[in-house]
Symmetry: C2
Subunit: 190 residues, 2 copies
């Protein structure tokens, strides 16, 4: 028994990488301590040594997913654009990210729907909530001088983006951000 020693950081990263790979390829259910250990080339016990429990491993995996996919929301660098252009630009960025990361986004939804307890949901919920916060300011600006209510527009935009994520998961090849963006431009008040 015993084996080569590696620093904790490096090991954890390797285990998480293996878990990520398995989850992407075969789904969350396939992420078991044994399979992850085998994929990472280590023993099962080491997984629990580094992550305490399977839930610990999954929490860490969820953290990787959320960091990698939902963390770039911002309209910085767009200050000089008109509100409508800024909003369209933000939506475009999000929709194009969906195409790129649809696998990870699918896993986030799998996390969300796999459990009803709060272990994963509150984490994901708070990340989803940041969508609303990110879109709210520009939506309020867009609404000024129109019949639109800023907060209602923000809720609608968030729903639209999240619905688009479902479409991107359902059929990544066919999903086309331009269809949605073109419709938004067409209904944009002059």
């Amino acid at each position: 028994m015993g084996g080569p020693k590696k620093p904790e950081q490096e090991r954890c990263a390797a285990i998480l990488a293996a878990a990520y790979e398995i989850a992407l390829a075969e789904g969350l259910d396939a992420v078991t301590a044994r399979r992850v250990a085998t994929a990472a080339g280590i023993s099962t016990g080491l997984v629990f040594f580094h992550f305490q429990s399977k839930d610990g491993l999954l929490e860490a995996l969820l953290g990787v997913l959320l960091d990698g996919t939902l963390d770039a929301l911002s309209d910085s660098g767009l200050e000089r654009l008109e509100p409508w252009d800024r909003l369209e630009r933000m939506i475009r960025v999000e929709l194009e990210r969906l195409v790129e990361y649809h696998g990870a986004v699918e896993l986030i939804f799998a996390f969300y729907f796999s459990r009803r307890d709060d272990l994963f949901r509150t984490r994901i919920e708070s990340n989803f909530g940041r969508y609303l916060q990110a879109f709210s300011p520009v939506c309020r600006e867009v609404a000024v001088g129109t019949r639109i209510q800023g907060d209602e527009l923000a809720a609608t935009v968030v729903a639209l983006v999240q619905g688009a994520s479902i479409q991107a998961i359902r059929n990544p090849e066919i999903f086309d951000p331009e269809a949605i963006l073109a419709t938004l431009r067409a209904v944009r008040p002059a």
Copy 2:
């Protein structure tokens, strides 16, 4: 051994009802043959006698869910309305159904994301596809004489409705169809 005999139809319905109840209350993972049998007041073997396998039971349960929640899409009875009013009305109907059936819709998503194989996905996919078919005609009518493309509008509407379903699941108490509907009315071309 042995016990009272009931017709197959009645038994299956009772088993499905028990499975539905457990799924709604505790999630898909809690739907095991043993738990369903206990909840239905029968033995475990009988579940497999009537549904062959756990997947058979889940397929039947999914059928119940899909029949009960996604099956009422139609714009019949709205012929006399203007296209925009018809579209708004259809969206309103769908959004209000979401509030009522968010538990069942959540289970459908749980089915969708719990597996990557085609057993459940194709079923759900075909039901989702009917959304697009249902919204397409009226969207094409709405688009006539505008810069909007009918099929692009339909794709956008479907994304919006499905995104709204996520919102309704995330927080059924707070979710407000009127916010989205008001925004749609506000951007509606005169």
